[in-house]
């Protein structure tokens, strides 16, 4: 074996146990490998006080977590169930004032993670000026482009975004190998998340025997084990969301969730079925 070390998969519940109150957890959008399996384990553990960063949006995952009372804070460019409409538990929590919501915009999330990826304290970003998003972000700074040509008769204002360093990046992927390398394909926001975060924990459809780094073709879409702290096997772990190239979203199940979660009682009943047996929630 040429590789540095083998990574033993852990039980899903052990993986969820790493996600402790107060930690900032980065999660991907609905189309990019959401670990619904880990979401379920978190809810089952009764997790509370978690802080989430949606990279850059979230859907059913954050709605379940909010409804189950796991979430203290959320930063996101949007929360939506997409074709199924508004995210009902998110919307209810905003009205109730029960979570702290920080609105952002997609490229600001990417840039702030890239700042951590590069170990710089901030990144400049165009746009934003004149948006009320900026007005509600005291952590963002309006700065000046220092490269305005001498003699230019005005300054060039630009927003400086502080780096975001998540404690944990959490996602679901099609496969990992026995060394802990994880296939992400073209979902490279997962790579940026992992580089930016202190730790990355992943659920996967399956563990494969051949190293994903052994040839150029599979290596191109692989997040190296170097960034990965723990892996759990969770077949169909994105369900009812889909996983690119593996299975499509279960639109009936998503519609069922959207309908049920319109009321607190409906959500609770859905959650009981979901915890009891995930597929029963459909």
């Amino acid at each position: 074996m040429a590789y540095d070390r083998l990574m033993q998969p852990v039980p899903l519940d052990d993986l969820a146990a790493r996600i402790k109150p107060g930690l900032l957890i980065a999660i991907p959008p609905d189309y990019s490998g959401v670990s619904v399996a880990a979401t379920r384990a978190l809810v089952a553990r009764g997790a509370t006080g978690l802080r989430f960063l949606a990279v850059p949006t979230s859907g059913i995952q954050i709605d379940i977590l909010i409804g189950a009372g796991c979430v203290a804070e959320l930063e996101a460019a949007a929360v939506t169930l997409g074709e199924q409409g508004l995210a009902p538990r998110f919307t209810a929590a905003i009205k109730a004032g029960s979570i702290v919501m920080r609105d952002t915009t997609c490229p600001a999330v990417h840039a702030a993670l890239q700042a951590s990826e590069k170990g710089v304290p901030f990144m400049p970003l165009r746009g934003l000026i004149g948006s009320d998003i900026l007005a509600h972000r005291p952590d963002w700074r309006l700065g000046d482009n220092p490269f305005v040509p001498v003699g230019a008769n005005r300054a060039d204002p630009i927003v400086f975004l502080p780096a975001i360093r998540p404690d944990i990046a959490l996602f679901h992927a099609a496969m990992a190998d026995r060394e802990g390398n994880v296939w992400v394909g073209r979902r490279r926001e997962l790579v940026t998340m992992a580089h930016a975060a202190k730790e990355t924990i992943v659920t996967v459809e399956k563990i494969v025997d051949d190293s994903l780094l052994a040839d150029e073709a599979s290596a191109a879409g692989t997040l190296p084990a170097l960034y990965v702290s723990a892996i759990a096997e969770a077949p169909r772990g994105a369900w009812p969301l889909g996983l690119a190239g593996v299975y499509p979203a279960d639109t009936d199940a998503l519609a069922g969730y959207a309908e049920a979660a319109r009321t607190e009682a409906g959500f609770r009943a859905w959650l009981d079925r979901f915890l009891d047996a995930p597929s029963a929630a459909a």
Binding site: A76, G82, A96, R188
Partner: protein
Amino acid sequence: MDIARTELLIAAIARLLDGCRTIAIGNSSPIPGSAALLLRARTGGATRVLMLGSVKHNAFTDGARELFDCAAQGRIDAFFLGGGQIDGEANINLVGVGEHPRWQQRFPGSFGSAYLYYLIPRVILFREEHTPRVLVPKVDFVSAPGISPPEVYRRGGPAALVTGRCVFDFDRDRRRFRLASIHPGETADSIRVHTGFDYDAPADVPVTPPPEPRDLDLLRGRVAGEIAETYPRFARELFGAARISAAE
């Protein structure tokens, strides 16, 4: 779904895209997506369409940031934005009605609007619902402003607003919308009644023309099959299952 109306909207939007080489389409945008694919079909493939959610019409391979980087590089000519509220200066609100942070009505959020609206030359606002509830005098929250002061770096912005009732052009110098055409069945007065903001209007307002027969053929043929990949339900309702499978 009002089929004739939806096809009219698609044709009206396609007209606004004329001359664009690269058009990006965000999530949940079947009508703009159909319009872009119609233009592409009409140009024999010379127009490039980058449609999020599609596998066949999405060339991005650098993750979720690539759309934004690509726009910042100046490679995208046109894009679409909507709004829970849109006001007469083309400010859009995708966050909420009422007051921050406990909104009376909370929308999903701003997505990439606070960036793309500044950088993509031709942004077309599209919202089917045309009521004073949506088209307001002043948005409650500016997700992205229609206009920026001269010192702010801005290469792009609003070009037009397409609703279920009409097409507005946006005049960036006058910072106002101007009624460009009204869809069949509407009048200058009916538009005025249903619009919460003030806008310019010519004495004679043309009627939004229906799709050309050739466009209708392309739409119901090639485009029906192409849009079905990303929006199967929309395509089924608009074009019927038979057309889609024939086109595929």
